[in-house]
């Protein structure tokens, strides 16, 4: 039993080690490499959040960037210095004017960012719990649409299409690593929990799980809210890294980029999500340099080439490995190839 637990622990340990390697690589490289590394660590926090819902429920969400947006705006409200807030939010409606006076530390902002996102998760959970398949995917997209429209139209509070500026830079390689490790541990703990196991059963066969007494809706809602929290925290980390952002970043192109990470790595696997986040972050940087002409003797390629190549790669992987590179397996656990040779001709049926 003890050895079994140790074997199970190999997955989170390996994933944390990968995050550690990303941080060390960021440390060793120049400022550009460091920037890529921090963004990769923030992406790890986001995709572990997304994967907490999608890998266990088997339902792909296109709406989690909405949670990230809420986390980012929350961090902005909590950490922009009070004097600057006075000018930025001069038209804040009276009942919300207390927001101008709020001030918190970076860590508190990240946690509260996650909590605010989790509230949106709670509000939307009843709908998500009831839907399956295509309907569910569309509903998650609707969550993103509604959030995006509120954020870009509620000008007096969110500054609408004007950028949010003046957020103190607080996310570093080390704090990014710390939150990535915490997110990996939370996601792994949920996956191993009784709720996570029952949700994975419903992913495999909805009606068989109902016939086993599983309350599918309740577990879907639990995973949804927890994943909202993690993605909200990722948003706060993001805001505290880039210091200024525009609402347009929290929409379809960012959603696509995270989907690519999770799908390439394997959307039914936590390891797949983490590997996908690291791999795609690296790849995006390489492709950007390629597009800028760094590998072609200085002549820049047309804008969009990098995205085009990423999309092409996604297509190839979807065709060759429909479940991504990891399938539904996890790092450090026995591979499926070794497991699939149980074909010895034994007497079948139950032997009492």
């Amino acid at each position: 039993m003890t050895t079994q637990v140790l074997v199970r622990l190999r997955t989170p340990l390996l994933l944390c080690a990968i995050a550690g390697v990303v941080a060390v690589a960021g440390l060793a490289g120049g400022p550009t490499v460091e920037r890529v590394a921090v963004l990769a660590l923030i992406s790890i926090v986001f995709v572990t959040g997304l994967s907490t819902f999608s890998a266990n429920s088997g339902i792909m969400s296109f709406g989690h960037v909405a949670f990230m947006a809420l986390g980012a705006y929350t961090a902005a409200f909590l950490t922009i210095p009070v004097p600057l807030k006075g000018t930025l939010f001069s038209q804040l409606p009276e009942p919300m004017s207390f927001l101008r006076e709020l001030q918190s530390s970076f860590v508190v902002a990240v946690v509260v960012g996650g909590l605010v996102a989790a509230v949106l998760g709670l509000i939307t959970a009843p709908g998500i719990a009831r839907l399956s398949g295509l309907q569910s995917g569309i509903a998650t997209l609707a969550v993103l649409m509604v959030t995006y429209n509120v954020l870009s139209s509620w000008t007096s509070v969110t500054r609408g299409s004007s950028s949010m500026i003046g957020i103190p830079q607080a996310t570093t390689l080390w704090s990014g690593l710390g939150f990535a490790v915490a997110a990996i541990i939370v996601a792994w703990a949920y996956q191993s929990s009784r709720s996570g196991l029952q949700l994975r059963a419903s992913r495999e066969d909805y009606w068989a799980s109902v016939a086993s007494g599983v309350s599918v809706g309740r577990h879907r809602a639990t995973a949804w809210v927890l994943s909202a929290f993690l993605c909200g925290a990722a948003g706060a980390l993001y805001a505290s890294f880039i210091t200024s952002f525009n609402v347009s970043v929290f929409f379809l192109s960012t959603t696509f980029s995270f989907i690519v990470m999770v799908v390439l790595g394997g959307y039914l696997s936590l390891s797949g999500a983490v590997l996908g986040a690291v791999g795609v972050s690296l790849l995006q940087e390489v492709l950007r340099r390629f597009q800028d002409g760094q590998f072609t003797g200085g002549s820049a390629l047309p804008a969009g080439v990098a995205d085009l190549m990423l999309a092409a790669l996604l297509l190839v992987v979807l065709i060759k490995f429909p479940l991504g590179l990891m399938g539904s397996g996890e790092l450090g656990q026995r591979g499926r190839q070794q497991q699939t040779d149980e074909v010895e001709p034994q007497p079948e049926g139950a032997s009492a």
């Binding site: 009784r194 196991l197 029952q198 994975r200 059963a201 495999e204 066969d205 009606w207 068989a208 799980s209 109902v210 016939a211 086993s212 007494g213 599983v214 309350s215 039914l268 539904s328 499926r336 497991q339 699939t340 040779d341 149980e342 074909v343 034994q346 079948e348 049926g349 139950a350 032997s351 009492a352």
Partner: protein, 246 residues
């Protein structure tokens, strides 16, 4: 009388039926299963066996009549709530959780029945031992042979702590000897744990020696119910059932 879910002794259906757009898939069927006995539900294809099982398990709600557990009416309860009341079903094709291990398959059902983690694991271990699945406990369910996938499905149903077990052709695709062996072991298990079993089966020879009573359906209606020897000699059964094979 008050409902007592702790020790229900009879699962029954009273003049129950279900109509799909005017088509009567099951029409006025009454039957009952007591704990510890095996009732075989047989009939030709399309006679309403699986629909009857769906009515009892909660996959379908009866449009007329009632499903009762002792004196409590289950007719409007969802399948999940019926599982918690002790009425557990299996599916014809097994429908195991393919990418979960055999152990996890069984553990999920024990958790679904409301056991805590430690108790669920203990229940899963003992069920796997009883059904001889120990050696494959840590393998993904879809890597097993067809026969052991079916056994896993039965282990999963047993781990849900049933008082009544509804089995939809558990031995389909196996030869007669294997089928009889499997159903005999289910019967032993049922007697030992006081579980009432409803066994849907279309293969007459398989149920003859293994069931305490048989209930024969044809076109959604009851033809006859009784002991296997008596049912086999019934002229109506011979005509609609054996007659088709001759």
């Amino acid at each position: 009388m008050t409902a007592n879910f702790d020790s229900p002794s009879v699962l029954s259906m009273h003049d129950a039926g279900v109509h799909f757009d005017g088509v009567k898939a099951v029409d006025g069927v009454s039957l009952s299963v007591s704990r510890g006995e095996v009732l075989g539900l047989i009939g030709p294809n399309g006679s309403g066996k699986t629909t009857t099982l769906n009515l009892l398990s909660g996959m379908l709600r009866p449009t007329v009549g009632a499903v009762m557990l002792d004196d409590s009416d289950l007719s409007r309860l969802s399948m999940r709530k019926r599982v918690h009341a002790g009425v557990v079903r299996t599916y014809q094709s097994g429908r195991v959780f393919e990418r979960l291990t055999v152990f996890e398959n069984v553990e999920v059902a024990a958790l679904g029945a409301g056991l805590r983690r430690g108790a669920a694991r203990a229940a899963a271990r003992s069920t796997l031992t009883q059904l001889g699945l120990d050696d494959v406990a840590d393998l993904p369910a879809d890597s097993l042979t067809a026969g052991r996938i079916r056994t896993t499905a039965i282990a999963r149903a047993l781990a849900a702590q049933p008082r009544f077990l509804l089995l939809d052709e558990p031995a389909a695709g196996q030869n007669e000897t294997e089928a009889v062996q499997l159903i005999e072991s289910i019967r032993g298990f049922a007697r030992e744990h006081g579980i009432g079993v409803l066994l849907v089966e279309h293969d007459m020879p398989v149920v003859m020696g293994t069931c305490d009573r048989l209930h024969v359906l044809d076109s959604g209606r009851t033809v006859i119910e009784g002991e296997p020897q008596r049912v086999r000699k019934d002229p109506q059964v011979i005509e609609i059932y054996f007659g088709k094979r001759a």
